[in-house]
Structure formats: C-alpha cells, structure tokens
C-alpha cells in the first residue's frame, strides 16, 4: 500500500509525540496491569495463614450477613457480599455508610472499616494500574492516556502499513541498532494490535464512562439517558421499599435458586460469585445474584430474585440477555481477562509485559534515532529522556517489588501489634519510586539503568524470601502442600528477578562493547 510522503510524515510526528506523552503512563499501566491479572492470588499471598484456614461456608456467610444487617442499619438499604469460594481468603461484605463512603466487613471484623480486607497490596497495584496511584484525577488522566494510546495505535499502523507484510517477521540484529529496535517495536505492536485496540477502547470506557455519559446525554439522548441507565446496567427492577417488614430468605436459598434458574436457561455450571441485596427486611426486598457461567463470552451474568420468597424477577444470563448487558459483560471480561481458563490469565500477563516493552522500546527508538553518531556528547533532550525513561519505568518495577516485600514484613508485625498495613505499603512503594527517579536524574543514564535494573533484580528476588521468612511458606513447601496460588507468586517473582538481572547484564555489555557515541555507552563525558 502506498501513502503520500507528507501523510507519512504527519503521522510519524503524531505517533512520536502522542507516544512520548502517553508512553510513561502506559508503561506503568501495563506493568501493574500484568500483575493485577493475579489479584486474587495476591490476596491469598498477602493474607498470613489464609491457606491454612478452613474454607468459609454458606452458613458462615449467613452469620456475617445477619450480624452486619443487625449492627449497621444503613446496610439494610443496599448491601453487597461475596459468596464463599476459592477466589478470596475471607468472605467480605460491603455497604455505604450514612455519608456514602464504602465500608467493608469480614467475620473477624464485623464492625467494618474503610479498607477492603487483606487486599492492600492488590489494591495498590490496581490503583497504579488505573490511576498511577493519583486519587480522583488519576482516573481521568488515565482515560485521556487511553485515548492518546488509541491515536498512537492508529498512527503507528498507518506509518507501518506500506511495509507491514514484508517486515512482519523481520528482526534484523546487527550493526544498525535502530533497525533492530524498530523491528522489535513493530513486530510486537502488530502481533498484539487486537489486544491493544481492545485495551485502548475498554480502558477509555472504564475511566471516562460517567463523564462521557454526562456529555452525550443532552447531545444525542435528549437528556433522557439517566432514567434509562438502571434498565441498561442492572438486572433487578427497582422496587421502592414497601414499609412493611417481612422475614428474609436465606443465603443458601438464593444460592440454590440462582443455580436452578441458570440451569433452566441451559447454563449447567453457573457459579454464584457475589450478590447485591436491596431493602433488606422489607416486603419488597430484592436480591441480585451475579455469577460466572464458564465457557461463554462475557461469562458474568445475573439473576434477580425476590429476597424473601425466592420468586424469579428477572435474568441477564449469557445467551438470553439484551445487547446492553451482553456488551458490558463482554467488555469487562475482555479487559480483565476473566473468561476462558487459567491460560487466558497467563496470556494476559505476558501480553501485559509485552505491552510495557512496546512503550519502553518506543522511548529507546526516539533516543536512538536522534543519536549524534560522530560525537561523544549527546543532546540534552536525549539525555533527559533517557533519564526519565530509566527512572520512571525501571523505578516503578523496583517500587512494586519493594511494596511486595513491605507487605510480608508489615503483615508479620501486624499479627502482634496494630498498624496500618495499607498505608505502610503505599509509602514504601511511592518513596522507592521517587528515590529511583531521583537516582536516575543524578547519575549518567547508562549507569542508572544498570544500577536500577540490579535493584529491581535484587528486590524482586527478595519477594519469595520475605514471604518465606514472614509466613514459613517457602515456595517448595507451598508446592508440596498444593497451594499453587502462593507458589506461583513466588516463582514468577524469581523468574522476573532473573529477567531483570539479564537486562542489567545486557545493558552493561552494551555500555562496554556497543557503539561509543551514545547515552548508553560508558563514557566520561555524559
């Protein structure tokens, strides 16, 4: 395919600048997002002795629900809870207090608190993923980054289009380093394009949905959108409280009934995951049971029941739902990798790391294509971008690994004394990140890159050690006991540590033996 050279130039400029602006945030989003794929495993890994406790039962969950409803009247209006199952160490229940703030309770803590139980580490990594850890504004920022990411994908594809097919499997090592990095950037970009398009669209949607609805409402929906949303997003019809009390049905009955209803619609393996209960204790109490129907696209579906009698009110289950529910369920499943079996999660993990590499290599390409080949001294912009890339990107890898170590050490101390584990982990992460950025700002980029990669290798290798010291669950013990979720967190950390060490050695080799006139070469001048 042939394009005008002016078009090609315009889109190259566009791709370069959009990529540079969004690239840093996208690196963090992809690295943290790859880890977030395993957030359930992380909750087990964080919670000391979670694997040794007996699995909570429906009766335990019923007890928790009854206690919370008795203790917190505001939860009667609207309360959500997880069904006991393999994915969470503790059954959690959550509601909004009088001020509208979410409260979480477990059987160990019926009073409730504003922190989700045993999830500080996975919450932190997830917050880095969707907001860079910046409260409120961070989500909108990441929404804009998602849009820029989409523009970078379109413009990148346009530039590459003329040589797309003939260069697809070309990876040309050799003296022309720019060629090699360009090939690597292109092949990863093209082969993972469908995933990137999906993430750009669903990422923008997840971050900007509410603001977009507000903007589109008067433009195309005649200001009638807000009234139509409950029917589009929820399953249960809204029933106002009757004002008369009625004896409420049991959790076990809702569980059985929802499976029964799903069977009638041909879904044999529907597994209830969580519920939403409205107007508890009232004659008009409604419960909405959401669960997973394996082997379907957009596996999450829900069944709405009269909470007192168990009478069926409405369903939105795979195969029998309207376009709105099918679309939102599929969009969520695609973004979070919650479909198919465990291989899908591993694929998302690898694609996430590959995406992080794509953004990192984009910055390297920018530096390489502006390299001054005939002089030692490189331009200020090249040096600064090298510093920023090393400090922010490698820095966040170090910071997340330090947060993992801090989690184990703080959880160990929290067994004997009361301390805020969540705050401790967050501080450990952001202080480490700031130190890495500062380090990269002060050292020559090639030195900082090696030092921070070694720091990443060492801290990541210490993750399984901290886990073993704090809980006694060394990874060989986890494997012997069949606790694979613990084992894989530790073993993946070791594999990543090895990867960081290899990158550090490669950087050192390049500094010694690669072309001399570069920010990545050992030289006294930079």
């Amino acid at each position: 395919m042939k394009l005008k050279s002016s078009t090609l130039r315009t889109y190259t400029t566009l791709h370069t600048w959009v990529g540079l602006v969004a690239g840093f945030a996208l690196f963090v989003a992809f690295y943290a997002g790859a880890i977030t794929v395993f957030h359930h495993e992380l909750q087990f890994w964080q919670s000391p002795h979670a694997v040794e406790r007996p699995q909570e039962t429906l009766a335990d969950a019923q007890q928790l629900l009854d206690d919370v409803l008795a203790l917190h009247p505001e939860a009667r209006k609207h309360v959500g809870m997880l069904f006991p199952g393999g994915e969470h160490p503790d059954v959690a229940i959550y509601w909004q207090d009088a001020k509208g703030a979410w409260q979480f309770a477990t059987r160990d803590d019926v009073q409730g608190s504003a922190e989700p139980p045993q999830a500080a580490l996975s919450e932190l990594v997830n917050a880095l993923h969707f907001s860079l850890g910046i409260p409120v504004a961070g989500t909108y920022l990441m929404g804009i980054v998602s849009l820029l990411y989409g523009i970078a994908l379109v413009s990148g594809l346009v530039i590459h289009l003329p040589k797309l097919m003939q260069d697809l499997f070309a990876l040309r090592p050799g003296r022309n380093l720019k060629r090699f990095w360009q090939d690597a950037h292109n092949v990863i970009g093209v082969l993972s394009l469908p995933m990137h398009v999906m993430f750009a669209v669903t990422g923008a949607m997840l971050c900007l949905l509410f603001i977009t609805m507000a903007a589109l409402n008067p433009l195309i929906y005649r200001s009638e959108l807000m009234g139509a949303l409950p029917a589009a997003f929820d399953t249960a019809p809204i029933k106002p409280a009757a004002g008369q009390s009625a004896p409420q049905g049991q959790l076990a009955m809702w569980h059985t009934r929802s499976i029964e209803v799903a069977r009638e619609q041909g879904l044999q393996d529907f597994e209830p995951a969580y519920l939403k209960l409205a107007n508890s204790g009232d004659a008009n109490a409604v419960v909405e049971v959401t669960g997973e129907a394996p082997g379907t696209l957009g596996p999450l579906g829900s069944v709405a029941l009269d909470a007192n009698t168990g009478e069926l009110l409405a369903t939105q289950l795979p195969g029998q739902r309207d376009a709105n529910h099918a679309a939102i369920s599929s969009a969520y499943a695609l973004h979070f990798g919650e479909y198919g079996n465990a291989w899908v999660k591993w694929m998302y993990f690898l694609l996430g790391l590959g995406g992080a590499f794509l953004f990192y290599s984009g910055n390297l390409l920018w530096i390489e294509s502006r390299r001054k080949r005939r002089q030692v001294l490189q331009g200020r912009a090249q040096v600064n971008l090298a510093r920023a890339t090393v400090g922010v990107c490698i820095g966040v890898c170090v910071a997340i690994s330090v947060a993992f170590i801090a989690t184990q050490l703080l959880e160990m101390r929290a067994l004997n004394q009361s301390l805020d584990v969540g705050a401790g982990i967050t501080w450990a992460c952001f202080i480490t990140w700031a130190l890495c950025v500062a380090w990269a700002a002060l050292r020559p980029p090639v030195r900082a890159a090696q030092e921070l990669l070694w720091a990443a290798a060492v801290t990541t290798a210490l993750i399984p050690v901290a886990h073993g010291v704090a809980t006694g669950w060394w990874f060989w013990k986890s494997a012997a006991a069949g606790h694979w979720n613990l084992f894989f967190v530790d073993i993946v950390a070791l594999a990543m540590a090895f990867g960081f060490a290899s990158l550090a050695r490669a950087t050192a080799r390049r500094a010694r033996t690669g072309e001399a006139n570069s920010v990545w070469a050992d030289s006294p001048a930079v």
Binding site: T10, Y11, L14, S155, A215, L216, L219, I220
Partner: protein, 87 residues
C-alpha cells in the same frame, strides 16, 4: 499539527457523538437497547475522527469540514428525534 488536533478533539467530538447517536436511533428497536454499545463505540469512533483529521491539508480546512459535518449530523439527529421518525 495543533490546529488539526484541536479540530479532531472539539468539532470531532460533536461529530462522533452525532454518528453514534444516528446509528443508535436509526437501528430497529428503541434507542435504550443500544446505550452500552453506543457508549463503548463512541471511543473508537472519536479516536478514528481525531486520527482522520490529520488527513486534512491544514487546520482551517479540518475545522471547517468537521464543524460543518458535526452541525449537519447533529441537526439530522435532532430533526429525526423531533419528528419522532426514529425511536
């Protein structure tokens, strides 16, 4: 570059909204049944319009074309809605 970029962002936003609205209201069935798909589809449509705005020779043209198209598209949608020819 900036003039074409802002053309894609501002009039391009209105044009993308109107395109999604037209499809949503013209499809058989009522508009409520395509709310979620419309809200998701809006993002790739807008990204496409922003990217396409760089195809214009200069910023002035981009602004003129995209504004005119946005006005026509929104006018058509509002007209159809007012006449109750779509639902």
């Amino acid at each position: 570059m900036w003039a074409r970029a802002t053309a894609g962002i501002f009039p391009g936003f209105l044009l993308s909204a109107a395109l999604v609205g037209l499809v949503s209201w013209l499809l058989p069935g009522n508009w409520e049944s395509t709310i979620v798909i419309g809200l998701i589809a809006f993002f790739p449509v807008w990204i496409g319009v922003i990217a396409a705005s760089f195809k214009f020779a200069n910023g002035k043209r981009a602004w003129a074309w995209l504004s005119a198209l946005a006005v026509v598209a929104i006018g058509t949608l509002w007209g159809l809605q007012a006449l109750a020819w779509v639902q």
